[in-house]
Amino acid sequence: MEISRHWRLAKQRYALVGEVCPNCEHKIFPPRDICPDCGEEAQDLYQFSGRGEVYSYTQVQQAPTGFEEYAPYTVALIKLEEGPMLTAQLTDMGKRPVSIGMPVEMVTRKLRSDGERGMLIYGYKFRPAIAS
C-alpha cells in the first residue's frame, strides 16, 4: 500500500523539514500550505533542530497492522524547541523511565514494515537527549 505517499513524505520524515511563515514567523510542523496562525501562505522551508521535550506519552499494547513486531512501544507527543508539537515513538530508552518534560532528540528509525510487499518505511523517532 501507499508507496508513493511514503516516498513523497520522505523529506519531512527523515530530516524534520517543516516551514516558517514568512508573515508571522510561526514555525510549522508538520508542513502546511497555509499558516494556521495568520492564514497566509507558508512555504518557506525550515529545518528543525530535532530537539524537544515530552509533552505526554503512553505505551501501546495492542498494535495496528504493520506495527505488531514493535509492540509494546511508547508513543509520545513531543514539543519541539521551536514551538510545534508532533507525534512520534520514543526509542533507545533502555531502562530509563519516561516523564513529562524529559528532553529528547530526533533520530531516524524504521517506522513500520508493509507485510505483503515487504516495503520498509523510515522516519523520525525520539530518544533521550544526549546533550543540550
Binding site: R5, L9, R13, P30, P36, Y55, S56, Y57, T58, Q59, V60, Q61, Q62, A63, P64, T65, G66, F67, E68, Y70, Y73, V75, A76, L77, P84, M85, L86, T87, A88, Q89, I100, L111, R112, I121, G123
Partner: protein, 395 residues
C-alpha cells in the same frame, strides 16, 4: 427561556426509534443488522415511505469491503429507489447524519427522513480493527507512528492528570456510573455493573488508560424516523419528541496540531451553537448523552460544554452529579462504555436513548421529569463534534 410548545409546520420531530442490542453479532450481516433497527423505527408506520435514507457508518469500507451502504441498506429494507447516501465523520458520523436530516427537513425538500447508524465491527479481526480505527487519525503524521484513538486518549489522560494533579482513580466514576446504568438496559453489552476495586485492579491497555477507561467496540445499529411536524401521520403510539437544535463543528484532525489539546474546541463550539439555537441554558438540560468512548473524553466533554470548569470535569463523576438522579445525568443507558461503542452509529443510539427518556419510556433508566436532553458524539479524539438538543412535546 423559550416556550417550545408552540409548534410550527417545519418543526423536526422524531416519530420512530429502533435500536438493536450491542454486541458481537457474528451471525448477522451489516444489512441485516441495519434492517433490525429500521423495522423497529418504522414500527406501525410502514405505510410512511421516507423521502431520504442517510446511513452513518465509519468502518464498513475497511472492515466489510463495502461502500454504497445507502443503496445496499435501502434496497434490503424494501425501500428501493429512495434518495440515499452514506455520511462519515468517524465517531461523529451518527450525529452528522442527524444534522443532515435536520437540514433536509427544514428545507422542506424532504418531509420524512430515516437515519440509520450501523457498524459491523466483527467483520474484521485482530489488528485490522485497530488499523481501521486508526484511519480516523492523521494517516501521514499520526497513524504512521503506530498511534490509535486509544493511545491518543491515553496521551490526553496522562497530560490531564499531570496538569490537574488528579488522583489515580479520578475517572473511575465515569465507568462505574455507566456500568450501573447499563444493568437495566436490555440493549447493553455489559449488564453486571462494576465496583471501584475492579477499576483499581484493571489491566492497563495504554497506560495510564485501563480496560475500564475504554469502551468495547461492538456491532450495533440504531435508526430514527424523523419528520416535519406538518407531515406527521396521526395516531402515533408513542409521544413525539422534537429536535430543537442541531450543530456540527470541527477542529484539527491531528491531536498535535491543536494549540491547547485539553480544551476541546469543537465540542465547546457545537454546544454553544446548539444552546443558542434552542434558546436554552445549560441548567435547562435534564440529561446529556456524551461520547464516553474513553473516560477522559467524558471529563473533557463536560468541561467543554460548561458543566465544569477546566480541569474539574472528573469531580462531577466523584460526587454523583452524573448519576441518574444527579444534576446532569450522563450515559443514562450505559453510554458507549457499558452499552458498547458502535463507532459511527453512536450518535444515533444517543438520540434514540434521549427520545426514550423524553417520551417517559425509559423504564428503570428514566430520568425523572426529563424535558430537555442533549446528545453529543465526536469523531476521533475531538476532531469533529455533532450536538443535538431534544425537547419533550407535552401531551
Amino acid at each position: 427561556m423559550t416556550n417550545h410548545q408552540h409548534g410550527s409546520g417545519d418543526d423536526v420531530v422524531i416519530i420512530g426509534v429502533g435500536m438493536t442490542p450491542v454486541g458481537e453479532h457474528w451471525d448477522t450481516s451489516i444489512r441485516e443488522l441495519a434492517l433490525q433497527a429500521i423495522k423497529m423505527a418504522r414500527g406501525g408506520l410502514a405505510a410512511l415511505i421516507p423521502d431520504a435514507i442517510y446511513v452513518a457508518n465509519m468502518l464498513a469500507p475497511a472492515l466489510s469491503s463495502q461502500t454504497q451502504l445507502g443503496a445496499l441498506i435501502s434496497d434490503f429494507a424494501g425501500l428501493r429507489g429512495v434518495e440515499t447516501l452514506t455520511i462519515e465523520a468517524a465517531g461523529a458520523s451518527g450525529g452528522s447524519a442527524i444534522r443532515q436530516a435536520f437540514m433536509a427537513l427544514k428545507s422542506g425538500l424532504a418531509k420524512c427522513v430515516l437515519v440509520i447508524g450501523v457498524e459491523k465491527v466483527t467483520d474484521g479481526v485482530g489488528t485490522d480493527v485497530d488499523s481501521a480505527l486508526a484511519t480516523s487519525t492523521d494517516a501521514d503524521y499520526e497513524a504512521i507512528h503506530g498511534i490509535t484513538p486509544t493511545s491518543q486518549a491515553a496521551l490526553l489522560m496522562r497530560r490531564y492528570f499531570y496538569e490537574n494533579d488528579a488522583p489515580k482513580d479520578a475517572l473511575a466514576g465515569f465507568s462505574i456510573t455507566a456500568h450501573q446504568n447499563a444493568i437495566t438496559n436490555p440493549n447493553a453489552m455489559f449488564r453486571q455493573g462494576m465496583q471501584p476495586v475492579q477499576y483499581l485492579n484493571a489491566p492497563m491497555i495504554s497506560a495510564p488508560l485501563n480496560m475500564f477507561d475504554a469502551a468495547p467496540l461492538a456491532d450495533g445499529s440504531a435508526a430514527l424516523l424523523i419528520a416535519r411536524a406538518d407531515a406527521v401521520p396521526s395516531g402515533l403510539s408513542a409521544p413525539m419528541v422534537r429536535i430543537i437544535a442541531s450543530s456540527l463543528a470541527s477542529t484539527t484532525l491531528a491531536l498535535h496540531d491543536r494549540p491547547d489539546m485539553l480544551h476541546m474546541s469543537a465540542l465547546e463550539s457545537s454546544v454553544q451553537q446548539a444552546l443558542e439555537m434552542s434558546d436554552l441554558r445549560l441548567e435547562d438540560l435534564d440529561l446529556f448523552e456524551l461520547h464516553d468512548q474513553y473516560s477522559i473524553l467524558a471529563a473533557l466533554a463536560l468541561e467543554a460544554a460548561g458543566f465544569a470548569p477546566r480541569g474539574k470535569g472528573w469531580e462531577l463523576a466523584r460526587n454523583g452529579e452524573i448519576s441518574q438522579s444527579g444534576s446532569i445525568p450522563i450515559s443514562t443507558f450505559g453510554g458507549s462504555k457499558a452499552r458498547g461503542d458502535t463507532g459511527g452509529a453512536t450518535g444515533v443510539y444517543q438520540v434514540a436513548e434521549i427520545t426514550r427518556q423524553l417520551q417517559g419510556l425509559a423504564g428503570e433508566n428514566q430520568v425523572a421529569d426529563a424535558r430537555y436532553g442533549m446528545a453529543q458524539c465526536i469523531g476521533g479524539v475531538g476532531s469533529t463534534a455533532a450536538t443535538h438538543i431534544l425537547a419533550r412535546i407535552e401531551p
